[in-house]
Subunit: 587 residues, 2 copies
Amino acid sequence: MIIEKINSPDNLKRLSDDELHTLTSEIRTALITKMSKLGGHMASNLGVVEITVALHKVFNSPIDKIIFDVSHQSYVHKILTGRKEAFLYEEHFEDVSGYSNPEESSHDFFNIGHTSTSISLACGMAKARDLKGDNENIIAVIGDASLDGGEAFEALNYAKELHSGLIVVLNDNNMSIPENYGGLHDLLNTLRTNRGQVENNFFSSLGFEYKFVQDGHNLCELLEVFESVKDTDHPVVVHCCTQKGKGYKFAEEEKEKWHWAHPFNIETGEYISGVPEENYGAIVAEYLLKKMQSDKDVVVVAASTPLCIGFNADRRKLAGKQFVDVGIAEQNALSMTAAIAKRGGKPVFATNSTFYQRGYDQIEQEMCITKCPATMILSHASVWGHTNDTHVGLYDIALFANVPNLTYLAPTNCEEYIAMLDWSIEQQEIPVAIRIPWTKVHHAENSVRNDYSDTKYEVTKVGSQVAIIALGSFYQIGEAVVKLLKDKGINATLINPLFISGIDGETLDNLKDHHELVITLEDGIINGGFGAKIAQYYSLSPIKVMNKAFSMNIPSRYIPDDLMRKNRLLPVQIVEDIIGIVGGRDE
Amino acid sequence: MIIEKINSPDNLKRLSDDELHTLTSEIRTALITKMSKLGGHMASNLGVVEITVALHKVFNSPIDKIIFDVSHQSYVHKILTGRKEAFLYEEHFEDVSGYSNPEESSHDFFNIGHTSTSISLACGMAKARDLKGDNENIIAVIGDASLDGGEAFEALNYAKELHSGLIVVLNDNNMSIPENYGGLHDLLNTLRTNRGQVENNFFSSLGFEYKFVQDGHNLCELLEVFESVKDTDHPVVVHCCTQKGKGYKFAEEEKEKWHWAHPFNIETGEYISGVPEENYGAIVAEYLLKKMQSDKDVVVVAASTPLCIGFNADRRKLAGKQFVDVGIAEQNALSMTAAIAKRGGKPVFATNSTFYQRGYDQIEQEMCITKCPATMILSHASVWGHTNDTHVGLYDIALFANVPNLTYLAPTNCEEYIAMLDWSIEQQEIPVAIRIPWTKVHHAENSVRNDYSDTKYEVTKVGSQVAIIALGSFYQIGEAVVKLLKDKGINATLINPLFISGIDGETLDNLKDHHELVITLEDGIINGGFGAKIAQYYSLSPIKVMNKAFSMNIPSRYIPDDLMRKNRLLPVQIVEDIIGIVGGRDE
């Protein structure tokens, strides 16, 4: 096989057109085979096979610098830059991460997981190049909806000021993660239909030279256009029309399902391990659809990740005008959500914990200083969420719990989650954020409260000496710790705090009489977190506080159990550490 | 005077064209007079007098909703919506804030201080309007460079999806705070020159109807165009060419100086109170210019606020290609800064504490996960910085100190500041942020260290019983507290921690033997702050910790001394609280 002989992009230079063609087939087979076993970003990588091969044939990486946006489009690049083993041989599958990674290769420059940054990064590299008097090509590969994000525009707007060479390769696959939206999307459609001709060209309006490639899977066409822009002295955009999922029938047909594939049967296209039948996504989506039917003011806002609250294509259709997807544009989504609430609507915005980072300013300013009574839902906010450093869901507590006027809630089971959501949608006073418990679906043993206006923790078991305050997804760990402590002769108190923001001083004061140690358990980083507030609260009292959470040393990929163990967050470890402080029957 | 009779926009409806004309003159006089005494956003408001009058004549606020971007352009709107007294009568000058404020008026909908949000907010209001089946006009007034920010683009891109009416009024004054940059700026210039004609129209490319107003100070032209777009059923942009500073000679000539004016002499245009001769801006700018001369890799990156490190027009010219301004586009600025460092350049980015919020994600991802060795400088990060809730510089500690791989430094005097900056520029390992001391310029009494690789606090006075850890701008408060404690018979230890991120465990452990109370003083909010880390560190030890910082209840405007007093941060109050815990000679 040709692919087996590719150790660096140099090996491409000597291949004939026919051999390059064969190589693209071999790459597709490797991608499909690996992902059928391990899962991964499937459809987007199948769509950039020819673009990536052509780039590495024409340009001279790593002297010339190719920066992949989102970088879940960089699997083919990895294959061509000395990392083919990780796609060919099962024992090496785990050798590479799912994103570009400077620790893996000198052909990768940044850890890129969030969208829309590639043109900015390319502008920065071009600026440094020009200051040094060097002259390499710098290429940003953007697409798969990453052009929707505001930063991409900021950089497109700036590029002209470089007065120098910059190449933007737009992988236009006509998709975001779900469908695509907006004026730019319509413009790209017109360009696709009219072979690159349009009355008002967006890219030209910003000072870019514009090149059009009708078939982004035609190697000859790609090689020709890349040769023509090589060593440009001004900003150029190369608009390549591609098909997301190209070469795997099921992915071509169902692009959203195959954006990120679970392990699957290659013949049938069926996922081998599916989502459990009872899951928070489906539960909350059904609740919201029902709510929408009885109240036309209820509206779900998404930024390309509606599946995180179960809004699949069927449910989006049912919601109709009460569903809004703005594309991968969290800033716009959050300001819009704030304004919908201000104008009397009842908006619910949802996305992954990590993607909220893009809209911190809008949360703090538009949403919270103005006190717009909107609801924000955070998914994947857990050690069990995404396990790449760029997608980790452990930072949101430090962000959301330190914003004025925001109530940040952590349900521990299904009934609490729905009760909090319903309360939040109906109240008209404050912005509210809810952290989805990232565990299997648990159910409440007793009735849950329906009003979350007052910061009031729930003492679920009254004990003494040791009190465990176990937040959200870690509540069940708290239960396990209490059980284990019983065997050590310690009758611990267990608290479900429900609130991440604010402090229930009354409950905390009550602990002082009969407890010497308070443990906080949280599914987030230790810095600036929930536990820090509890430690701060008791800092003048004799009560001891032990914060159990994650240090910020998060590796580029991790296995949840390992990270838990390393941070001494497994129940037995927590118990050991408690006994180390208060002693126990066995000691 | 006509202005005295304007109690609401209704009063405009009956005025003749001549009377409206007279009103615009009276408004200008009021603005200039008030700002000559109090200071404020001068040039931008002088530029939108006619636009605002015409909007309120044609539309029916507050049913029709006018949303001012940045909202430092909203003074005229305030005059016309029942708040004229605050601009006419000195005793009422302080009645209104410098930004739109829902607590002041039903004609204001959001507290808007950061740029580029108005179109998003208008989209959200339009969405809620449409769900309710209402039909008012919703108008975003954007401009004064606020179109540069990515969120504005995200919303322009989305607007078409509303399938409904939306009006964007672009106040094109040909300026940012300093000069304007970029492809969009060049496009607007072409449109200005060619009476609205251009080959590729940016706004049309995104699906907007485009209207052009050659003279944005011509009331008749404005009234006509606003009448023509009233009740539109699709998105329209009205591009109005205006002159920043219009009507005040000095502001027309020196737009950057007059963007925000200090109190001034109306006749001469001279500021009454100037910047002190010795100031951190000038000191650091001169240091950086010298550094640039000997090292062509050093480059200053700005996002429209270069004055915060003293880069005025003369110094920008001297820096030449080693100075970059990307416009009000912090995301692009931060990713570019990261990439310049990655490519071997030595970038220094600077802006106000509050504006970094817009780029939190880029800091955490591109800058810090990838460990790009760039330098970030934070200005106005203090209770003595901006005193409006939307611009408060008290949140950055919670943000910057809880990011992986970032070293966040707090100098307390001039020599430390320059030493930290020089070390940061030269080191090639990690991203570094530096918080400018927001006090008068203090000088070091002893030599300062030149390596900040290790988190090591400086014990500046060895005492016992009580230790004061006084961070950055609050170090001098620590000195004052130590002096006052001496009178109470307490010989306190004083520590200059230098580092906001990280913990110097050795120094903290050493305190345990001879101290019962540790006080932390920081110029930031208490939540997620520096003190919280110290409280967390000691949470299992018998040592008591008192965190002195600001609660998140920050009013929409404040007087620094009052906010200090309210949070018990004045030296005498701190001493009282210490004595309350440890007792003292006088008790």
